[in-house]
Amino acid sequence: MCVDVVLLAQAAADLITWQERLLSPWIDHRLQLACSILIGAVLGLLGCFVVLRRMALIGDAISHAVLPGVVIAFLLLSTGVAGLFAGALVAGIVTAVAINVVTRWSRVQEDSAIGIVFTAMFAVGIILISRLPAGAHFDLKCFLFGDPLAVQRSDLISVLVIAPLAVALVVLLFHPLKLMCFDATLARTMGFNVTVLHYLLMTLLAGTIVAALRSVGVIMAVAMLITPAACAYQLTNRLWCMLLVAALVGALSAGAGMFLAFQLNDPPGPIMVLVATAFFACAILFAPQRGVLTTWRRRRQIRAHIADEDVLKALARLEERGARAADLPAALAPTPHGRITAALRRLAQDGLLTGGLPQPELTERGRQRALEMLRAHRLWETYLAEQSVAREHWHDEAERLEHAHQVAEELAETLGQPQTDPDGHPIPSQLPES
């Protein structure tokens, strides 16, 4: 009895420490967490436009190129957040403009121009760091990789300023932004100043990246810009939905990443990025329409459909000739035996035949379906003949195309419901749906 109480108390204590371990990061680091989650959401939101306009490289460029601006601001204004912001913004805009100028005044394409400009800016930044007066310490590592635990109240304030700005821009200018991303030329012909819109977006992007510096650092900021947006792009066919999903994935990645990092005792920035990458991988695999899994399943279904119909047709032919159904494997050679039995099983399930090997027998419905296929086959041959496809290709092409029944009926409509195929064989008429 006494032992039980001690054990119980021990268990309770364990539970509490465990709870503390789980909850303490949320309590002790709520500032840092809030900051990272907000940054993740805003980067995800803006990332959509970067991904849709295929400007991932520009995001990369701006994030690296803010370095000299940050260093100069650091030199002149020591630590003020506003100064840092101004410096980074100016550097970001200089970069965006320089990329445009280089593209315009040389034969170099935009991707190369981006490479030239941002590396030059970054180099200037590094030289500036090496020339900092003694005593001033600029943490390049923090700039590159971030240090979420060093986030201060001032960082949260900068995020709280930039986040509503980004949301307001996207909500107010939703339609012009959509138009610009879809077709910038069309937007220009409608009198929209695409250049202004572009720089507005770039400025906001530079601002967000600066606000994200301490949380995730420039390199991880690029990942948080592109990956959640790419993930959302995979999942949806509507822009507003993509924006919402990207912001959500960004926020979730940041929050979950931070949390996992505390549990695993790893640096938070990289964990956030890996969480976002995991989201992206899941989207590629499991997306409802474009996912690898869905595509694979769809292909399998189509293969099965074709196999079923081929078996059905072979059976009908055997029946027509008065041959034994047991000869089916020979008629379908070289189709493997297993595939034939699987098809027979599915056909029996659909009520198109009864029994299996060696004596499958077509039902009335099965015979009807076989007739429909013959109809489709001969309609395709008629069409191919009309399209002056060489005769020797008719049969094989029709064998392949006949499995698309709906198209065959559209074909019949266009061909004017022909009665015979080019060889003079009758085309069975369409049977009433039973």
Binding site: F182, T185, T236
Partner: protein
């Protein structure tokens, strides 16, 4: 009323004081100091379906871009319905080549057509019932209502073209500039697009159509043969002659080209 009679009548109306839909005078445009269009002057009367024909690099697309204000002219003037381009933007609709668009973009057919209303909405406007009604009408006209809520990736080439025409229609512009709407479509789609374009012209719209196919010029009410400068402009049956076509596909103004190259780079024997 088609062909030369219609053209003559419209030209007569224009002379009698009617404003031409499109008036280009002395237009010269260069890319990187190389002229693409030279001294182009053309007046298109209202209500015409005009084909712009010429070899590759003849400046057909550049002419459209100049009219749209997308490229800067070295010299010359463009007036749309009597007004400079910037003042007449709401009267101009551009129908780009379908293969220039991003068909993976996350929008539905309806949303693409609704973009035709953006000019009227401006920067901050939201589409209202009136705009949606115009979109529905446009979709019905091009027979794409059933596809309204589909994603644009699911469209065939001819359907893509019809969606773009619907967007131009929703724009309620009176001058339509179409960049190769008949490229790569089958005979049936071509017929459908022509029927639509004819209907637009009959409703008083003016259409300028960049076109590659010489076989179908009879279907247009006027033809502009363009190769850097205007070779001929008028009703198809008067303009499309063997002599004109030889001029069109034969030499350009090669002496002027050569002289300008010298002025740009210096004579080759100096280098």
């Amino acid at each position: 009323m088609t062909g030369s009679r219609a053209f003559a009548a419209a030209a007569e109306r224009t002379r009698a004081g009617g404003v031409p839909a499109l008036e280009v005078s002395g237009l010269t445009v260069s890319y990187q100091e190389k002229p693409v269009l030279r001294y182009v002057s053309v007046a298109v009367p209202v209500g015409h379906l005009v084909a712009v024909v010429g070899p590759n690099g003849a400046g057909k697309s550049t002419l459209l871009k100049a009219i749209l204000g997308l490229v800067r002219a070295d010299s010359g003037a463009i007036r749309v319905l009597g007004q400079p381009v910037d003042a007449a933007r709401r009267e101009i609709a551009y129908v780009p080549q379908t293969d220039s668009a991003d068909w993976d973009f996350p929008v539905t057919v309806r949303e693409v057509v609704l973009m035709g209303r953006y000019r009227a909405l401006g920067w901050l406007g939201r589409p209202r019932r009136h705009d949606h009604a115009l979109v529905d009408d446009a979709l019905r006209t091009v027979d794409m209502s059933d596809f309204a809520d589909r994603h644009i990736r699911q469209l065939s080439g001819g359907q893509q073209q019809r969606v773009f025409l619907a967007r131009a229609l929703a724009q309620e512009a009176r001058v339509l500039l179409l960049d190769e709407p008949l490229a790569g479509v089958d005979a049936r789609t071509e017929q459908a697009i022509f029927e639509l374009m004819d209907a637009f012209a009959a409703a008083g719209k003016t259409l300028v159509v960049v076109n590659h196919n010489l076989q179908i010029l009879e279907r247009f009410s006027a033809v502009l043969l363009l190769n850097q400068s205007v070779v001929a402009f008028g009703p198809a049956r008067e303009v499309v002659t063997e002599a004109n076509l030889r001029r069109l596909y034969g030499g350009r103004m090669s002496f002027v080209d050569e002289a300008e190259r010298v002025l740009r780079e210096g004579p080759s024997d100096v280098r």
